[in-house]
Symmetry: D2
Subunit: 307 residues, 4 copies
């Protein structure tokens, strides 16, 4: 079993590291903001004082941090990761970063005789906790094979996407679809609400018909209860859409729907909804139509009766 | 059991009427283009020479026709339906029409002491054949109750949406989501393809992750096989999006994503893809990026091996 | 000189009729809302009690009304125009209506042995008052020649566009450009304001450079003074964009920018800005960026000094 | 009079330098691609072998290069500018670069006791030749005052925009409007053409009415003659729109119309129109409507006759 290092103990990283510890792996942890490691220490993790210290104690290092800037700080900053890895070390990043940065990490780590995989995930906190994340991986297939068991401890599926950078590319393409599907659901709900249709009946239709989606399944209960607490914040969705937009520009791929949806989330962010769940985009449409998108009507009881 | 009349024996109407006949209902049929009734006559249907003739032979009439103009012809034209219905007749339309027309039919049929339900469906030919359509119904709950068994012979679910016109409104809102979800899938696939990612791996990711949708499930095999034969034509999707756009204008509901996607399908239609399945929208993006969106790469075999 | 009839004495119609009277034409007037004719009666106009009465007193009739519905009422309603015109009568409509309605009027009036021109205008109240409107005309060139002098009494330019319906088509295509140009100006101003640039300097640049436009010239002073009083209301601009959008749908012409701008004005209308000048769209962006788009900075005085 | 250095002798830079020489300034020139200086040497320019050599010979340096990468090479590369400037040197960049780079240049040159102005222009080759460019300037007003005469030798107007970086910000906001106005013109022309309206008549209307713009004035003759030779290439317009889009993202300013227009130019670029004038965007719409946007009809002669 690999001696594992884990950097980034936030909402996703902490439960991912916990699953590794429960599986019996030796895990050395570091987080830039202190105090996040307590539960993991109880599970047997070792604390390290810096990314470099993690590197010196590990054969396989996993990072789960916020964004490009944080990654650069951890990998290239003072007591950073890259400067301290030994030849043969495998490094996996599961954050959502730009493919360009992923390719740079791949090159710089290979130059140190290490190996790098960009392996972002789909799934949020509950999936991290239950070890059912889905990994999309860029990098050598041989390296992916070596770390299979580790990835399968944190997730239920590992899908190779191509060479280094491909995991990040796939993540942005995937999350483009996520962002658009949520906007589609909410825009459809706005038309239904304006047309006097009960939201519960409409969502029942959506989930039974061609309009069904994973995001509709996840957001329908939140929307009906008007529970906009964060599963995936609107601000983080917007961050991904901006990265996706830059990527499609570089790839010279016209993506008119992504651009329209990005502008929509920018408006939502400007309206102060950034720290709520992305489903709070509904509040933007509610302001426009001056009407709640989710309001049960008296059809509700009849719905149960007829079906 | 109701004596049923069925008008409109096309791709959807024919199997719907067949299911009623197999269930034991007496069904009188009419289609504006002759020759479509043959199979149904073998199943025991009675042929009628006009909508009025159907009306005179029926207690419950179901229409499944193309669009507003066809509906007006059948309902209000020579030997039309409305002029011939007896008091107490129930009329159900399952076409996709404008809510304004649905409300007009509701009013005009009520004025003749009949009852009208606008009950469009989600589901295409296979669902029509297997009796697993989902009906979204506008009109009186009492009337919906009366016809429950008939609807459940053709479908698996009946969802009341509100007063007359609500079924059509729900259909347009629902199909707005369908159209956007397909565009989202294809735009995500275009980014992935431009970024060098194998389509099969990407679609596996989509269906396993937050980007999953009913339309992704239906279109993934067609896209991978480059089988653009019609399940739901691009031209019909565009027709629905135009109706949805007019509706959202009338309801003063801003729908920027619907508008962007409608323009996209208009470009696809202009490119001659109208008579193909709506998934042929992929060919539009392929022209733009000068590259196929669905091409398996050598990662394919490895994918099977690693997972 | 023609005996002229003039129907529709609103913001545009009243000054147009006044110019005809001052030129010496005999003018019989009618307005659905009474009380609008007073000033014209002083100038020598004759009052009529209905469109039909106007028709009986006129050889050439001009209508300047709000929209399709009002037109139908005046032309086809009780004591309407079409039923009362004598053979040889020329009818000119200068409202902004759908091309389909314009073609219908053309056909119905020709059927009465009259002649019809759809001749909408560009220019607002000041141009109507000073007789400097620009007419875009659909209909026979021979008829256009006959009424040249009349049109040149109200305007400075008459441009034939093609057969009946072409004037309305040109109007919608023209106003599509107007609506987009105003949105472009305001969006550019929003970027400048967010970037800390003084609005007055930026508008000076716009008007001196490639970004200059007639709309920038008309709206710059209003925006700098934050004077959103109506020259052309946001609601009327939106009405034109909806007509243009329907027209482009019928013509199967993809118009993605029109659709995006239409959604933007819908949001502005939803925000309650409909009865203000269309430049009030700026207030929409101001809400989003939480900052005024027009605020002079201390660069202002220096600007004068350096140039 | 300043001893001037000029780097970047392309389509714009060459005539700008020529105007300085004709005014009597001593000008030392450098271009990365050799052979561009010949005409200027005849006018009395001195040739330098590198940016650093230009710096050593100059009190005021002007750069007019392609983009961020070229700028970095000239300013920071081997024998680059910044490393060689003496205290008190004024540096003016008139390229179109990102505001972030402009602010960096401002800081790095100030750190060398020099002064920097980001002073991009509006106007293309003819304006460069006739000395009628418009400069939008970011940087200290005192420095702007010092170089007034130099700028007025190349242009007709100098507008201060704010501190360092403001010139570049203004340029991107300004060019956002330019790009949208051209798309608006072409989209309006597409509706007109689909509706059977003669392009010449429509453009006459546009230029006489509320839809008039500088870009309509510049592009009307090119469109009518189907002369798509470059005044400002579609690829360069797209480059500016990408920079503007990144800027508006950083400024958290929703710009839905910019995003829609950027996607449109991306499609044009994908269609191979990048090296043509941006008015070649018309060819994109022509493909969609399968019809020429500019075709004179027989109305043409009649137009002259009636007006």
């Amino acid at each position: 079993m690999f001696k594992i290092g884990f950097i980034g103990l936030g909402v996703m990283g902490e439960p991912m590291a916990a699953n590794l510890l429960r599986k019996g792996y030796s895990v050395t942890v570091f987080n830039r903001t202190p105090g996040k490691a307590d539960k993991l220490l109880e599970l047997g993790a070792n604390a390290a004082a810096s990314p470099a210290a993690v590197a010196r104690a590990s054969e396989l290092i996993i990072t789960m941090i916020s964004n490009d800037d944080s990654i650069r700080e951890v990998y290239y900053g003072d007591n950073g990761l890259i400067g301290a890895i030994a030849p043969g070390t495998i490094v996996i990043d599961s954050s959502t970063i730009s493919p360009a940065l992923a390719r740079q990490l791949h090159a710089d780590i290979s130059a140190k005789s290490g190996a790098f995989l960009d392996a972002p995930v789909t799934g949020s906190k509950p999936a991290a906790e239950s070890g059912s994340l889905v990994f999309m991986v860029g990098g050598d297939l041989e390296v992916i094979r070596k770390v299979q068991d580790v990835l399968h401890t944190m997730g239920r599926k590992v899908i190779p996407m191509g060479p280094g950078g491909s995991g990040s590319t796939a993540k942005l393409a995937h999350n483009t679809i996520v962002g658009i599907n949520v906007a589609a659901l909410i825009e459809g709900m706005a038309i239904a609400a304006s047309g006097g249709i009960d939201a519960k009946s409409f969502l029942e239709l959506v989930q039974a018909g061609g309009a069904a989606s994973k995001m509709a399944e996840l957001k329908a209960p939140k929307l009906l209860d008007r529970d906009f607490s964060v599963q995936f914040s609107l601000a983080l969705m917007l961050k991904d859409l901006r990265l996706a937009s830059s990527l499609s520009d570089e790839l010279k791929t016209p993506t008119p729907i992504l651009e329209a949806v990005k502008s929509l989330y920018q408006v939502g962010d400007a309206m102060g909804l950034g720290e709520l769940d992305l489903s709070a985009l509904a509040q933007g449409y509610e302001q426009w139509i001056n009407k709640r998108i989710t309001n049960h009507s008296s059809v509700e009881d009849s719905v149960a009766a007829v079906d």
